[in-house]
Amino acid sequence: MLSLIGKRIVSAIPSVIGVLVVTFVLTRALPGDPAAYFAGPAATPQAIEEVRRSLGLDKTLPEQFVVYIKDLATGNLGNSIATGQPVLTEIRTRLPASLELTLYGLLVSVLIAVPLGVLAATRPGSWIDHLCRVVTTAGVSLPAFFTGLLLVYVLYYRLGWAPAPLGRLDIFYSAPTTVTGFYTIDALIEGNLEIFRAALAQLLLPVTALAVFTLAPLARMTRAAMLEVLGSDFIRTARASGLPKGKIVYGYAFRNAMLPVVTTLGMVFSFLLGANVLVEKVFSWPGIGTFAIEALVASDYAPIQGFVLTMALLYVMLNLAIDVLYIVIDPRVGFES
């Protein structure tokens, strides 16, 4: 199994190279002349040429690619014009914000969707099955940013139960010392429960919005996979052997049903990375999505390149994680090779 996992990790290397090439080509293909933007609106053609040379944009594409790779190797992703900060620094502070949001959203979603799907499948036609159907239908038809706006309107504006949707932490608190970049975890490491609670309160609404959105595909897939497995021959064998229902449902059926659920989980995670961009906007979340939108509006190409690269690498890692999970769950994976 370990050698199989090792092989899978090695096979991710071509994907990473592909990602590097595509990000490079894609950002070069964007409309607009970065040199003109850098030089500013009042610049003379000579000044623009000057900037172009200083940015290395006068070189041929292959030459530029080599420079780009060299820069990447030293961790240099260029600077953002808007903030003047190195892109790497920006991503390093903003990525944990986005990930914290996404991962909590996913966690909440899984914790609700999987049991819901399992219960719906084991009791077809019961109230919980109907509930599952209602939730999945509602979840599919509500985009995350809309749910987000609705939650803000009701829980913050009308009822005042939730804190203002203004970022990761109320302005009265200062951020905990960065260890993981996740405020909730860092606050716990620091032992500061007050900040932990405050960070959690800020997370509540956007996480709910994301969870509602992702609940639907997960619950539906769990239900369908469980139903299929429960109808299979080996479950009949387990019943004929007198195994108790709990053992059959959780020990035998659930592990087999996990495979399609894990696949869906990967897909949902990538939806979430996309949905995040809008949800972050609604909640003024200082994440990587907000950063990318601002950069895109300003034709600020270094941050865009950095954003696309980060996202692409995240996808590669995500797929890697899912494949490794497959290897762990299913002994049949990799057998044919």
Binding site: T237, G242, P244
Partner: protein
């Protein structure tokens, strides 16, 4: 040998609710299986063989309903017994093996663990002994190198090997009765014989009753003491094997025997039975369900349920105009 009935099914009727209406899958089915005896239920697909087995095991799916009759196993009517009682009986006193063994085992659990699960469930071993007992069971079903095979997954084993594992699971708690539902379907011919020999041998060792469900009359003849012939949810004939082959009394049985390959008959001389099973959704098929396909049909065959003649012990035929 005095016959001690292990299972006696009496007047069992089962119906299924489907979108097309109620299907009367079994009607007034009665038979007994004695201790140490191997009884075959023979019939074509859809005749109700497996439904009978599932009903007795209490694992009929939710659409099926027992509308009439009893099935007594060890003094208990298993059709009335609560689920908790049945769960305790299944796998311990009454076991079942299925067709297509490769898909009848949990694909992502080691086979040794699957045997151990059943051993642990029925309480005769501790968690520490279970793996060793599972290996012993593998050896009993003649699996070479049982220590290593216990750690295998079903996909790493052949179909015959998987059926041996199924038998090991079924016999792990020394049940009083084994129901083998087409145990050799999907296996090659030599493996079929090996599996059937194994079932017969282990059954004899434990004095276990075996109910063999098959569409292979030849196999039934070779291994079973008693044969029950089913057609469209009715038992049409039941008799000791030798009698059945010497003097089939129901026209369907005779046709079945004529349609069974034998060394003395060339394949192209085998006779197919014309027609198909009737539509069991018809409101009342009280009369003989074979009459539409029967050459010996008489006007009275359409009337009521065909008369049941009990010639001797364990022998009956449901026909107005028997051979």
């Amino acid at each position: 040998m005095s016959a001690v009935p292990v299972l006696s099914v009496d007047n069992l009727s089962v119906e299924f609710r489907t979108r097309g209406g109620i299907v009367k899958a079994l009607e007034r089915v009665s038979f007994t299986v004695n201790k140490g005896e191997m009884v075959a239920i023979v019939g074509e697909s859809g005749s109700g063989k497996s439904v009978t087995a599932f009903t007795v095991m209490g694992i009929l799916d939710a659409a099926g309903r027992v509308s009439h009759g009893t099935a007594t196993f060890g003094g208990l009517d298993v059709l009335q017994a609560p689920e908790a009682v049945m769960r305790d009986i299944r796998g311990r006193e009454m076991s079942m093996i299925f067709q297509n063994p490769r898909v009848a085992l949990n694909p992502i659990r080691r086979v040794g663990d699957q045997i151990a699960d059943v051993l642990l469930q029925h309480g005769n071993v501790t968690r520490r002994e279970a793996p060793q007992r599972a290996i012993e069971m593998l050896a009993r079903v003649r699996i070479p190198d049982p220590e290593r095979r216990a750690r295998a997954y079903p996909f790493e084993l052949s179909g015959g090997m998987c059926q041996r594992i199924m038998i090991a699971i079924a016999l792990s708690c020394a049940p009083k009765m084994l129901i083998a539902d087409e145990p050799t379907t999907g296996l090659d011919v030599t493996t079929q014989a090996a599996i059937m020999d194994l079932i017969a041998e282990l059954g004899a060792e434990q004095g276990m009753a075996t109910l063999l469900i098959t569409h292979d009359l030849g196999m039934a003849a070779e291994y079973c003491d008693q044969i029950v012939v089913m057609h469209a949810g009715h038992i049409v004939e039941a008799a000791p094997t030798a009698d059945l082959f010497a003097h089939p009394r129901h026209p369907y049985t005779a046709k079945l025997i004529a349609a069974t390959p034998k060394p003395s008959v060339r394949l192209r001389d085998l006779v197919a039975i014309p027609g198909n099973l009737p539509d069991l959704r018809a409101a009342e098929i009280a009369s003989c369900r074979y009459s539409a396909r029967c050459e010996r049909r008489q006007p009275r065959c359409d009337q009521a349920l065909p008369h049941v003649l009990g010639e001797q012990r364990n022998s009956m035929v449901a026909c107005w105009n028997p051979l």
